[in-house]
Protein backbone atom coordinates (compact mmCIF):
# COMPACT_ATOMS: atom_id res chain seq x y z
CA UNK A 1 0.00 0.00 0.00
CA UNK A 2 3.00 2.26 0.50
CA UNK A 3 3.92 1.63 -3.12
CA UNK A 4 0.44 2.88 -3.99
CA UNK A 5 1.01 6.16 -2.25
CA UNK A 6 4.44 6.74 -3.81
CA UNK A 7 3.16 5.79 -7.24
CA UNK A 8 0.17 8.08 -6.90
CA UNK A 9 2.47 10.92 -5.89
CA UNK A 10 4.76 10.47 -8.91
CA UNK A 11 1.77 10.22 -11.23
CA UNK A 12 0.16 13.29 -9.71
CA UNK A 13 3.44 15.10 -10.35
CA UNK A 14 3.40 14.07 -14.02
CA UNK A 15 -0.20 15.21 -14.36
CA UNK A 16 0.53 18.51 -12.60
CA UNK A 17 3.49 19.12 -14.91
CA UNK A 18 1.28 18.50 -17.94
CA UNK A 19 -1.39 20.88 -16.72
CA UNK A 20 1.15 23.52 -15.64
CA UNK A 21 2.97 23.51 -18.99
CA UNK A 22 -0.20 23.88 -21.03
CA UNK A 23 -1.65 26.51 -18.73
CA UNK A 24 1.62 28.39 -19.24
CA UNK A 25 1.15 28.11 -23.00
CA UNK A 26 -2.32 29.61 -22.66
CA UNK A 27 -1.00 32.33 -20.34
CA UNK A 28 1.78 33.28 -22.76
CA UNK A 29 -0.63 33.54 -25.67
CA UNK A 30 -3.19 35.27 -23.46
CA UNK A 31 -0.65 37.85 -22.22
CA UNK A 32 0.31 38.80 -25.76
CA UNK A 33 -3.35 38.97 -26.74
CA UNK A 34 -4.05 41.14 -23.69
CA UNK A 35 -1.30 43.61 -24.67
CA UNK A 36 -2.77 43.67 -28.16
CA UNK A 37 -6.32 44.28 -26.93
CA UNK A 38 -5.26 47.04 -24.55
CA UNK A 39 -3.44 48.79 -27.39
CA UNK A 40 -5.91 48.23 -30.23
CA UNK A 41 -9.25 47.45 -28.61
CA UNK A 42 -11.16 44.20 -28.89
CA UNK A 43 -13.82 44.92 -31.49
CA UNK A 44 -11.91 47.16 -33.87
CA UNK A 45 -9.45 44.53 -35.16
CA UNK A 46 -12.23 41.99 -35.52
CA UNK A 47 -14.35 44.12 -37.84
CA UNK A 48 -11.55 45.65 -39.89
CA UNK A 49 -9.95 43.87 -42.78
CA UNK A 50 -7.02 46.22 -43.21
CA UNK A 51 -3.90 44.30 -42.27
CA UNK A 52 -0.87 46.53 -42.60
CA UNK A 53 1.41 46.05 -39.59
CA UNK A 54 3.81 48.76 -40.76
CA UNK A 55 1.01 51.33 -40.42
CA UNK A 56 -0.09 49.69 -37.14
CA UNK A 57 -3.39 48.51 -38.64
CA UNK A 58 -4.22 45.03 -37.45
CA UNK A 59 -7.62 44.15 -38.88
CA UNK A 60 -7.98 40.36 -38.83
CA UNK A 61 -11.46 40.13 -40.34
CA UNK A 62 -10.09 38.83 -43.64
CA UNK A 63 -8.32 35.96 -41.88
CA UNK A 64 -11.32 35.04 -39.75
CA UNK A 65 -13.56 35.01 -42.81
CA UNK A 66 -10.88 33.12 -44.73
CA UNK A 67 -10.62 30.43 -42.04
CA UNK A 68 -14.38 29.99 -41.91
CA UNK A 69 -14.81 29.98 -45.68
CA UNK A 70 -12.06 27.45 -46.27
CA UNK A 71 -13.34 25.18 -43.48
CA UNK A 72 -16.96 25.42 -44.65
CA UNK A 73 -16.02 24.77 -48.24
CA UNK A 74 -13.91 21.76 -47.26
CA UNK A 75 -16.79 20.25 -45.25
CA UNK A 76 -19.31 20.74 -48.07
CA UNK A 77 -16.94 19.20 -50.61
CA UNK A 78 -16.01 16.34 -48.29
CA UNK A 79 -19.57 15.41 -47.27
CA UNK A 80 -20.52 13.25 -50.31
CA UNK A 81 -17.21 11.41 -50.17
CA UNK A 82 -17.58 10.77 -46.45
CA UNK A 83 -21.13 9.45 -46.87
CA UNK A 84 -20.10 7.19 -49.74
CA UNK A 85 -16.95 5.84 -48.09
CA UNK A 86 -18.54 5.24 -44.70
CA UNK A 87 -21.65 3.50 -46.04
CA UNK A 88 -19.51 1.38 -48.36
CA UNK A 89 -17.13 0.45 -45.58
CA UNK A 90 -19.78 -0.24 -42.96
CA UNK A 91 -22.77 -1.60 -44.88
CA UNK A 92 -21.66 -2.92 -48.26
CA UNK A 93 -18.25 -4.53 -47.79
CA UNK A 94 -17.89 -7.56 -45.52
CA UNK A 95 -15.06 -9.64 -44.11
CA UNK A 96 -11.57 -9.33 -45.56
CA UNK A 97 -12.36 -6.59 -48.13
CA UNK A 98 -13.91 -4.54 -45.33
CA UNK A 99 -10.82 -4.89 -43.15
CA UNK A 100 -8.56 -3.95 -46.07
CA UNK A 101 -10.76 -0.95 -46.86
CA UNK A 102 -10.53 0.32 -43.28
CA UNK A 103 -6.76 -0.18 -43.25
CA UNK A 104 -6.34 1.80 -46.45
CA UNK A 105 -8.41 4.66 -45.02
CA UNK A 106 -6.29 4.57 -41.86
CA UNK A 107 -3.14 4.90 -43.98
CA UNK A 108 -4.59 8.02 -45.57
CA UNK A 109 -5.34 9.46 -42.12
CA UNK A 110 -1.63 9.16 -41.41
CA UNK A 111 -0.50 10.85 -44.63
CA UNK A 112 1.22 14.08 -43.50
CA UNK A 113 -0.60 17.29 -44.36
CA UNK A 114 2.43 18.63 -46.22
CA UNK A 115 1.90 15.78 -48.71
CA UNK A 116 -1.69 16.94 -49.23
CA UNK A 117 -0.26 20.43 -49.70
CA UNK A 118 2.10 19.03 -52.30
CA UNK A 119 -0.88 17.47 -54.07
CA UNK A 120 -2.66 20.83 -53.96
CA UNK A 121 0.28 22.61 -55.58
CA UNK A 122 0.98 19.94 -58.16
CA UNK A 123 -2.53 18.81 -59.08
CA UNK A 124 -5.33 21.04 -57.71
CA UNK A 125 -3.84 24.49 -58.37
CA UNK A 126 -2.91 23.79 -62.02
CA UNK A 127 -6.36 22.29 -62.57
CA UNK A 128 -8.14 25.35 -61.15
CA UNK A 129 -5.81 27.57 -63.17
CA UNK A 130 -6.78 25.81 -66.37
CA UNK A 131 -10.49 25.76 -65.58
CA UNK A 132 -10.87 29.36 -64.43
CA UNK A 133 -8.03 31.26 -66.05
CA UNK A 134 -6.90 32.66 -62.70
CA UNK A 135 -3.61 32.03 -60.92
CA UNK A 136 -5.20 29.06 -59.19
CA UNK A 137 -4.20 30.08 -55.68
CA UNK A 138 -7.02 30.94 -53.30
CA UNK A 139 -9.63 29.70 -50.87
CA UNK A 140 -11.19 27.42 -53.49
CA UNK A 141 -7.96 25.45 -53.92
CA UNK A 142 -7.42 25.46 -50.15
CA UNK A 143 -10.96 24.13 -49.61
CA UNK A 144 -10.37 21.34 -52.12
CA UNK A 145 -7.08 20.33 -50.50
CA UNK A 146 -8.62 20.39 -47.02
CA UNK A 147 -11.60 18.38 -48.23
CA UNK A 148 -9.32 15.63 -49.55
CA UNK A 149 -7.36 15.79 -46.30
CA UNK A 150 -10.32 15.44 -43.93
CA UNK A 151 -12.20 12.79 -45.94
CA UNK A 152 -10.20 9.84 -44.48
CA UNK A 153 -10.43 11.07 -40.87
CA UNK A 154 -14.13 11.88 -41.04
CA UNK A 155 -14.95 8.69 -43.01
CA UNK A 156 -13.25 6.41 -40.50
CA UNK A 157 -15.18 7.96 -37.63
CA UNK A 158 -18.48 7.83 -39.55
CA UNK A 159 -17.78 4.25 -40.60
CA UNK A 160 -17.19 3.08 -37.02
CA UNK A 161 -20.41 4.77 -35.94
CA UNK A 162 -22.46 3.16 -38.71
CA UNK A 163 -21.06 -0.25 -37.76
CA UNK A 164 -22.16 0.22 -34.16
CA UNK A 165 -25.84 0.65 -34.99
CA UNK A 166 -27.51 -2.28 -33.16
CA UNK A 167 -28.42 -5.02 -35.61
CA UNK A 168 -31.81 -5.33 -33.88
CA UNK A 169 -32.72 -1.94 -35.35
CA UNK A 170 -31.56 -2.93 -38.82
CA UNK A 171 -33.25 -6.33 -38.73
CA UNK A 172 -36.41 -4.81 -37.32
CA UNK A 173 -36.57 -2.33 -40.15
CA UNK A 174 -35.90 -4.96 -42.83
CA UNK A 175 -38.34 -7.34 -41.15
CA UNK A 176 -41.07 -4.74 -41.37
CA UNK A 177 -40.52 -4.68 -45.11
CA UNK A 178 -38.34 -1.62 -45.54
CA UNK A 179 -35.84 -1.87 -48.37
CA UNK A 180 -32.16 -1.59 -47.58
CA UNK A 181 -32.11 1.94 -48.94
CA UNK A 182 -35.02 2.95 -46.72
CA UNK A 183 -33.31 1.30 -43.76
CA UNK A 184 -30.15 3.27 -44.47
CA UNK A 185 -31.86 6.67 -44.71
CA UNK A 186 -34.52 6.23 -42.04
CA UNK A 187 -32.92 3.93 -39.45
CA UNK A 188 -29.15 3.63 -39.72
CA UNK A 189 -28.23 7.26 -40.40
CA UNK A 190 -30.60 8.78 -37.81
CA UNK A 191 -29.41 6.25 -35.22
CA UNK A 192 -25.80 7.33 -35.89
CA UNK A 193 -26.52 11.03 -35.45
CA UNK A 194 -24.39 11.46 -32.34
CA UNK A 195 -21.33 9.70 -33.77
CA UNK A 196 -21.64 11.52 -37.08
CA UNK A 197 -21.79 14.89 -35.30
CA UNK A 198 -18.71 13.89 -33.33
CA UNK A 199 -16.83 13.09 -36.54
CA UNK A 200 -18.07 16.34 -38.04
CA UNK A 201 -16.69 18.37 -35.13
CA UNK A 202 -13.34 16.57 -35.32
CA UNK A 203 -13.21 17.34 -39.04
CA UNK A 204 -14.02 21.01 -38.37
CA UNK A 205 -11.20 21.15 -35.83
CA UNK A 206 -8.73 19.55 -38.17
CA UNK A 207 -9.67 21.86 -41.06
CA UNK A 208 -9.64 25.00 -38.92
CA UNK A 209 -6.28 24.22 -37.35
CA UNK A 210 -4.55 23.06 -40.52
CA UNK A 211 -1.71 25.34 -41.47
CA UNK A 212 0.76 23.97 -43.92
CA UNK A 213 -1.50 22.38 -46.53
CA UNK A 214 -3.60 25.55 -46.70
CA UNK A 215 -0.62 27.90 -46.74
CA UNK A 216 0.83 26.12 -49.75
CA UNK A 217 -2.17 26.78 -51.97
CA UNK A 218 -4.04 29.82 -50.64
CA UNK A 219 -1.67 32.48 -51.96
CA UNK A 220 -1.25 34.53 -48.80
CA UNK A 221 -2.87 37.94 -49.18
CA UNK A 222 -5.21 39.65 -46.79
CA UNK A 223 -8.37 40.03 -48.79
CA UNK A 224 -11.95 39.53 -47.69
CA UNK A 225 -13.25 36.54 -49.48
CA UNK A 226 -12.89 36.00 -53.10
CA UNK A 227 -12.78 32.29 -53.78
CA UNK A 228 -10.45 32.50 -56.73
CA UNK A 229 -8.04 35.21 -55.62
CA UNK A 230 -5.21 34.70 -53.15
CA UNK A 231 -6.42 34.93 -49.56
CA UNK A 232 -5.27 33.97 -46.09
CA UNK A 233 -6.56 32.28 -42.94
CA UNK A 234 -5.70 32.76 -39.27
CA UNK A 235 -3.23 29.89 -39.33
CA UNK A 236 -1.52 30.75 -42.62
CA UNK A 237 -1.10 34.39 -41.59
CA UNK A 238 0.47 33.23 -38.32
CA UNK A 239 2.91 31.12 -40.32
CA UNK A 240 3.93 33.85 -42.74
CA UNK A 241 4.08 36.69 -40.19
CA UNK A 242 5.95 34.82 -37.48
CA UNK A 243 9.10 35.41 -39.52
CA UNK A 244 8.30 39.06 -40.23
CA UNK A 245 7.35 40.16 -36.73
CA UNK A 246 9.86 39.13 -34.12
CA UNK A 247 8.91 38.91 -30.46
CA UNK A 248 8.43 42.12 -28.43
CA UNK A 249 7.14 44.10 -31.37
CA UNK A 250 3.51 45.33 -31.45
CA UNK A 251 2.85 43.22 -34.53
CA UNK A 252 3.87 40.14 -32.62
CA UNK A 253 1.09 40.71 -30.09
CA UNK A 254 -1.36 40.62 -32.99
CA UNK A 255 -0.17 37.07 -33.70
CA UNK A 256 -0.90 36.12 -30.10
CA UNK A 257 -4.35 37.64 -30.51
CA UNK A 258 -5.03 35.42 -33.54
CA UNK A 259 -3.56 32.38 -31.78
CA UNK A 260 -5.85 33.00 -28.80
CA UNK A 261 -8.88 33.08 -31.09
CA UNK A 262 -7.84 29.75 -32.58
CA UNK A 263 -7.48 28.26 -29.09
CA UNK A 264 -10.89 29.59 -28.06
CA UNK A 265 -12.49 28.13 -31.19
CA UNK A 266 -10.90 24.76 -30.43
CA UNK A 267 -12.18 24.87 -26.84
CA UNK A 268 -15.70 25.56 -28.14
CA UNK A 269 -15.45 22.62 -30.56
CA UNK A 270 -14.31 20.30 -27.77
CA UNK A 271 -17.12 21.52 -25.53
CA UNK A 272 -19.61 20.83 -28.32
CA UNK A 273 -18.16 17.35 -28.69
CA UNK A 274 -18.73 16.63 -25.02
CA UNK A 275 -22.33 17.80 -25.43
CA UNK A 276 -22.77 15.47 -28.41
CA UNK A 277 -21.38 12.55 -26.41
CA UNK A 278 -23.98 13.26 -23.74
CA UNK A 279 -26.63 13.19 -26.47
CA UNK A 280 -25.65 9.65 -27.49
CA UNK A 281 -25.87 8.38 -23.92
CA UNK A 282 -29.22 9.90 -23.10
Amino acid sequence: MRADRIAALVMKGALALFIAVWVMVAVIVGAGAWRFVSANGLVGPLVSSRWSPLAAHYGILAFVVGSMAVTGLALVLAAPGVLALSVTGARILRGAPQRAFIQILTLFVAVPSVVYGWWGLSVAVPLIRRLTGTAGFGPLSAGIVLAVMIVPTFSIMALQTLRQVPSSLVEGSLGLGASEDQTLWHVILPASRAGLSQGFLVAVGRALGETIAVQMVIGGQSRVLSLLKPGATLTTQLLTDLALMPARTPGHDALDFMALWLMILMAVLVWLQSRVRGMSRG
Binding site: L15, V29, L83, W118, G209, A247, M266
Partner: protein, 284 residues
Protein backbone atom coordinates in the same frame (compact mmCIF):
# COMPACT_ATOMS: atom_id res chain seq x y z
CA UNK B 1 -22.80 -12.78 -37.58
CA UNK B 2 -25.83 -10.59 -37.14
CA UNK B 3 -25.16 -9.12 -40.55
CA UNK B 4 -25.18 -12.53 -42.14
CA UNK B 5 -28.60 -13.20 -40.65
CA UNK B 6 -30.27 -10.22 -42.23
CA UNK B 7 -28.53 -10.75 -45.51
CA UNK B 8 -29.84 -14.31 -45.41
CA UNK B 9 -33.35 -12.91 -45.08
CA UNK B 10 -33.03 -10.98 -48.30
CA UNK B 11 -34.55 -13.51 -50.73
CA UNK B 12 -37.94 -12.73 -49.16
CA UNK B 13 -37.85 -9.53 -51.17
CA UNK B 14 -37.21 -9.32 -54.90
CA UNK B 15 -33.42 -9.35 -55.15
CA UNK B 16 -31.67 -6.23 -56.35
CA UNK B 17 -34.56 -3.93 -55.51
CA UNK B 18 -34.33 -1.11 -53.01
CA UNK B 19 -30.57 -1.01 -53.17
CA UNK B 20 -30.19 1.73 -55.75
CA UNK B 21 -28.80 4.25 -53.26
CA UNK B 22 -26.32 1.68 -51.97
CA UNK B 23 -25.09 1.11 -55.50
CA UNK B 24 -24.74 4.83 -56.15
CA UNK B 25 -22.86 5.28 -52.88
CA UNK B 26 -20.55 2.38 -53.74
CA UNK B 27 -19.83 4.03 -57.09
CA UNK B 28 -19.08 7.32 -55.36
CA UNK B 29 -16.82 5.51 -52.90
CA UNK B 30 -14.80 4.12 -55.81
CA UNK B 31 -14.41 7.66 -57.12
CA UNK B 32 -13.38 8.91 -53.67
CA UNK B 33 -10.75 6.18 -53.35
CA UNK B 34 -9.43 7.06 -56.80
CA UNK B 35 -9.24 10.71 -55.74
CA UNK B 36 -7.27 9.74 -52.64
CA UNK B 37 -4.96 7.60 -54.77
CA UNK B 38 -4.42 10.63 -57.00
CA UNK B 39 -2.54 12.09 -54.04
CA UNK B 40 -0.07 9.21 -53.84
CA UNK B 41 0.37 8.13 -57.46
CA UNK B 42 1.60 11.45 -58.96
CA UNK B 43 3.88 11.84 -55.95
CA UNK B 44 5.55 8.51 -56.64
CA UNK B 45 5.61 9.12 -60.39
CA UNK B 46 7.33 12.48 -60.04
CA UNK B 47 9.73 11.13 -57.44
CA UNK B 48 11.17 8.37 -59.63
CA UNK B 49 13.81 10.47 -61.47
CA UNK B 50 15.24 11.76 -58.17
CA UNK B 51 15.18 8.52 -56.21
CA UNK B 52 18.75 7.26 -56.35
CA UNK B 53 21.41 6.27 -53.86
CA UNK B 54 23.18 9.64 -53.98
CA UNK B 55 19.94 11.46 -53.16
CA UNK B 56 18.91 9.08 -50.41
CA UNK B 57 22.20 8.31 -48.68
CA UNK B 58 24.86 10.58 -50.19
CA UNK B 59 26.91 13.11 -48.28
CA UNK B 60 26.92 15.80 -50.98
CA UNK B 61 24.56 18.79 -50.68
CA UNK B 62 21.16 17.98 -52.13
CA UNK B 63 21.00 14.59 -50.46
CA UNK B 64 18.17 14.19 -47.98
CA UNK B 65 20.08 11.93 -45.60
CA UNK B 66 20.58 14.75 -43.02
CA UNK B 67 16.87 15.62 -43.12
CA UNK B 68 15.96 11.97 -42.66
CA UNK B 69 18.33 11.69 -39.70
CA UNK B 70 16.93 14.90 -38.18
CA UNK B 71 13.36 13.69 -38.58
CA UNK B 72 13.97 10.29 -37.06
CA UNK B 73 16.06 11.53 -34.14
CA UNK B 74 13.80 14.46 -33.23
CA UNK B 75 10.68 12.30 -33.39
CA UNK B 76 12.32 9.45 -31.46
CA UNK B 77 13.57 11.71 -28.65
CA UNK B 78 10.27 13.62 -28.36
CA UNK B 79 8.34 10.38 -28.27
CA UNK B 80 10.71 8.95 -25.68
CA UNK B 81 10.19 12.02 -23.49
CA UNK B 82 6.44 12.46 -23.92
CA UNK B 83 5.30 8.82 -23.70
CA UNK B 84 6.49 8.10 -20.13
CA UNK B 85 5.20 11.47 -18.90
CA UNK B 86 1.85 10.88 -20.55
CA UNK B 87 1.68 7.29 -19.31
CA UNK B 88 2.09 8.42 -15.70
CA UNK B 89 -0.52 11.15 -16.04
CA UNK B 90 -2.96 8.81 -17.80
CA UNK B 91 -2.47 6.06 -15.21
CA UNK B 92 -3.25 8.49 -12.43
CA UNK B 93 -6.38 9.74 -14.15
CA UNK B 94 -7.85 6.33 -14.90
CA UNK B 95 -6.51 4.05 -12.17
CA UNK B 96 -5.96 6.27 -9.14
CA UNK B 97 -8.12 9.40 -9.26
CA UNK B 98 -11.79 9.11 -8.39
CA UNK B 99 -14.07 10.25 -11.21
CA UNK B 100 -15.31 13.71 -10.34
CA UNK B 101 -16.07 17.10 -11.78
CA UNK B 102 -12.30 17.63 -11.97
CA UNK B 103 -11.53 14.57 -14.06
CA UNK B 104 -14.30 15.54 -16.47
CA UNK B 105 -12.94 19.08 -16.67
CA UNK B 106 -9.56 17.53 -17.36
CA UNK B 107 -10.98 15.58 -20.34
CA UNK B 108 -12.14 18.89 -21.75
CA UNK B 109 -8.72 20.41 -21.08
CA UNK B 110 -6.84 17.58 -22.82
CA UNK B 111 -9.22 17.69 -25.76
CA UNK B 112 -8.64 21.40 -26.19
CA UNK B 113 -4.86 21.40 -25.92
CA UNK B 114 -4.72 18.38 -28.17
CA UNK B 115 -6.40 20.33 -30.96
CA UNK B 116 -4.35 23.50 -30.58
CA UNK B 117 -3.05 24.16 -34.11
CA UNK B 118 0.60 23.27 -34.53
CA UNK B 119 1.51 26.80 -35.66
CA UNK B 120 0.26 28.14 -32.30
CA UNK B 121 2.58 25.73 -30.50
CA UNK B 122 5.33 26.89 -32.83
CA UNK B 123 4.61 30.51 -31.92
CA UNK B 124 4.84 29.81 -28.19
CA UNK B 125 8.02 27.74 -28.48
CA UNK B 126 9.66 30.52 -30.50
CA UNK B 127 8.63 33.11 -27.90
CA UNK B 128 9.82 31.08 -24.96
CA UNK B 129 12.74 28.94 -26.07
CA UNK B 130 14.25 30.99 -28.87
CA UNK B 131 13.54 34.54 -27.67
CA UNK B 132 13.53 34.23 -23.88
CA UNK B 133 15.92 31.33 -23.29
CA UNK B 134 18.15 32.10 -26.31
CA UNK B 135 18.06 28.53 -27.57
CA UNK B 136 19.30 28.31 -31.15
CA UNK B 137 16.89 27.37 -33.93
CA UNK B 138 17.96 23.76 -33.78
CA UNK B 139 17.08 20.12 -33.30
CA UNK B 140 16.91 20.81 -29.55
CA UNK B 141 14.19 23.43 -29.97
CA UNK B 142 12.49 21.18 -32.50
CA UNK B 143 12.45 18.35 -29.98
CA UNK B 144 10.86 20.67 -27.42
CA UNK B 145 8.18 21.70 -29.91
CA UNK B 146 7.43 18.12 -30.98
CA UNK B 147 7.31 16.94 -27.36
CA UNK B 148 4.78 19.66 -26.60
CA UNK B 149 2.72 18.65 -29.64
CA UNK B 150 2.79 14.96 -28.79
CA UNK B 151 2.09 15.20 -25.06
CA UNK B 152 -1.70 15.81 -25.05
CA UNK B 153 -2.37 13.30 -27.82
CA UNK B 154 -0.41 10.68 -25.89
CA UNK B 155 -2.26 11.40 -22.64
CA UNK B 156 -5.53 10.99 -24.54
CA UNK B 157 -4.50 7.70 -26.13
CA UNK B 158 -3.21 6.29 -22.83
CA UNK B 159 -6.49 7.21 -21.12
CA UNK B 160 -8.48 5.61 -23.91
CA UNK B 161 -6.45 2.39 -23.84
CA UNK B 162 -6.74 2.10 -20.05
CA UNK B 163 -10.47 2.74 -20.16
CA UNK B 164 -10.91 -0.05 -22.69
CA UNK B 165 -9.93 -2.59 -19.99
CA UNK B 166 -13.18 -3.71 -18.31
CA UNK B 167 -13.67 -2.51 -14.72
CA UNK B 168 -14.53 -6.03 -13.59
CA UNK B 169 -10.89 -7.04 -14.03
CA UNK B 170 -9.89 -4.41 -11.48
CA UNK B 171 -12.60 -5.50 -9.04
CA UNK B 172 -11.41 -9.08 -9.36
CA UNK B 173 -7.80 -8.15 -8.76
CA UNK B 174 -8.62 -6.01 -5.72
CA UNK B 175 -10.89 -8.70 -4.31
CA UNK B 176 -7.93 -11.11 -4.43
CA UNK B 177 -5.98 -8.67 -2.28
CA UNK B 178 -3.81 -6.94 -4.89
CA UNK B 179 -2.97 -3.29 -4.34
CA UNK B 180 -3.75 -0.68 -6.94
CA UNK B 181 -0.12 -0.58 -8.00
CA UNK B 182 0.03 -4.37 -8.37
CA UNK B 183 -3.23 -4.35 -10.30
CA UNK B 184 -1.97 -1.71 -12.67
CA UNK B 185 1.48 -3.15 -13.33
CA UNK B 186 0.59 -6.85 -13.55
CA UNK B 187 -2.91 -6.80 -14.99
CA UNK B 188 -4.05 -3.52 -16.54
CA UNK B 189 -0.88 -2.40 -18.32
CA UNK B 190 -0.20 -5.71 -20.09
CA UNK B 191 -3.81 -5.72 -21.29
CA UNK B 192 -3.80 -2.11 -22.45
CA UNK B 193 -0.32 -2.18 -23.97
CA UNK B 194 -1.17 -3.45 -27.47
CA UNK B 195 -3.73 -0.71 -28.04
CA UNK B 196 -1.33 1.90 -26.63
CA UNK B 197 1.39 0.76 -29.00
CA UNK B 198 -0.86 0.78 -32.04
CA UNK B 199 -2.24 4.24 -31.26
CA UNK B 200 1.25 5.37 -30.27
CA UNK B 201 2.35 4.42 -33.78
CA UNK B 202 -0.28 6.78 -35.17
CA UNK B 203 1.00 9.53 -32.86
CA UNK B 204 4.61 9.00 -33.97
CA UNK B 205 3.51 8.99 -37.61
CA UNK B 206 1.79 12.33 -37.02
CA UNK B 207 4.95 13.76 -35.46
CA UNK B 208 6.98 12.77 -38.52
CA UNK B 209 4.69 14.82 -40.72
CA UNK B 210 4.57 17.89 -38.47
CA UNK B 211 5.67 20.89 -40.48
CA UNK B 212 4.28 24.19 -39.24
CA UNK B 213 5.56 23.72 -35.70
CA UNK B 214 9.11 22.99 -36.90
CA UNK B 215 9.73 25.72 -39.47
CA UNK B 216 10.77 28.37 -36.95
CA UNK B 217 11.92 26.06 -34.18
CA UNK B 218 14.08 23.45 -35.92
CA UNK B 219 14.67 25.65 -38.93
CA UNK B 220 15.08 25.16 -42.66
CA UNK B 221 18.78 24.28 -42.79
CA UNK B 222 20.93 21.26 -42.13
CA UNK B 223 24.38 21.18 -40.60
CA UNK B 224 27.41 19.17 -41.65
CA UNK B 225 26.59 16.54 -39.03
CA UNK B 226 23.87 15.85 -36.52
CA UNK B 227 24.11 17.89 -33.32
CA UNK B 228 21.64 18.66 -30.58
CA UNK B 229 22.22 22.39 -31.05
CA UNK B 230 22.63 22.16 -34.82
CA UNK B 231 20.15 23.14 -37.52
CA UNK B 232 17.35 20.61 -37.66
CA UNK B 233 15.40 20.73 -40.90
CA UNK B 234 13.06 17.74 -41.12
CA UNK B 235 11.82 15.89 -44.20
CA UNK B 236 8.40 17.52 -44.03
CA UNK B 237 9.89 21.01 -43.73
CA UNK B 238 12.27 20.24 -46.59
CA UNK B 239 9.36 19.19 -48.78
CA UNK B 240 7.48 22.38 -47.89
CA UNK B 241 10.50 24.58 -48.58
CA UNK B 242 11.37 22.93 -51.90
CA UNK B 243 7.81 23.14 -53.10
CA UNK B 244 7.11 26.73 -52.01
CA UNK B 245 10.47 28.25 -52.94
CA UNK B 246 11.91 26.10 -55.69
CA UNK B 247 10.35 26.13 -59.14
CA UNK B 248 12.89 24.20 -61.19
CA UNK B 249 12.17 20.72 -62.50
CA UNK B 250 14.92 19.30 -60.33
CA UNK B 251 13.42 20.85 -57.20
CA UNK B 252 9.97 19.48 -57.96
CA UNK B 253 11.21 15.94 -58.48
CA UNK B 254 13.33 16.24 -55.34
CA UNK B 255 10.31 17.52 -53.44
CA UNK B 256 8.28 14.53 -54.60
CA UNK B 257 11.11 12.17 -53.67
CA UNK B 258 11.29 13.75 -50.21
CA UNK B 259 7.54 13.18 -49.89
CA UNK B 260 7.96 9.52 -50.87
CA UNK B 261 10.69 9.01 -48.26
CA UNK B 262 8.50 10.71 -45.64
CA UNK B 263 5.51 8.54 -46.56
CA UNK B 264 7.76 5.49 -46.46
CA UNK B 265 8.87 6.31 -42.92
CA UNK B 266 5.28 7.02 -41.82
CA UNK B 267 3.98 3.73 -43.22
CA UNK B 268 6.94 1.86 -41.74
CA UNK B 269 6.08 3.21 -38.29
CA UNK B 270 2.41 2.32 -38.70
CA UNK B 271 3.23 -1.18 -39.93
CA UNK B 272 5.84 -1.77 -37.24
CA UNK B 273 3.64 -0.60 -34.39
CA UNK B 274 0.74 -2.70 -35.63
CA UNK B 275 2.91 -5.83 -35.90
CA UNK B 276 4.32 -5.21 -32.43
CA UNK B 277 0.81 -4.74 -31.03
CA UNK B 278 -0.37 -7.96 -32.68
CA UNK B 279 2.63 -9.86 -31.38
CA UNK B 280 2.02 -8.61 -27.83
CA UNK B 281 -1.65 -9.50 -28.12
CA UNK B 282 -0.75 -13.04 -29.16
CA UNK B 283 1.82 -13.64 -26.44
CA UNK B 284 -0.29 -12.10 -23.67
Amino acid sequence: MADRQWRGARPLKPPGQGRAAHKILAGMAVLAVLLLLSVIIPLVAQAVPALNAAFLFGRAPGSIAPEAVNTVTMVAISAAVSFPLALLAGLYLVEFARPSRWTRAFDQFTGTVLSVPSIVVGLVVVDVAVVRWHWPVSTLTGILALTLMNWPLTVALVVEALQSVPGLYRDGSWALGASRWQTVTRLILPLALPQMIEQGGMAVARLMGETAVLIYTAGVNVGPGWALGGPGESLAVHLWLLRTEGVTDLASSQAAATGVVLLGLVFLVLWGSRRLAEWLQDTA
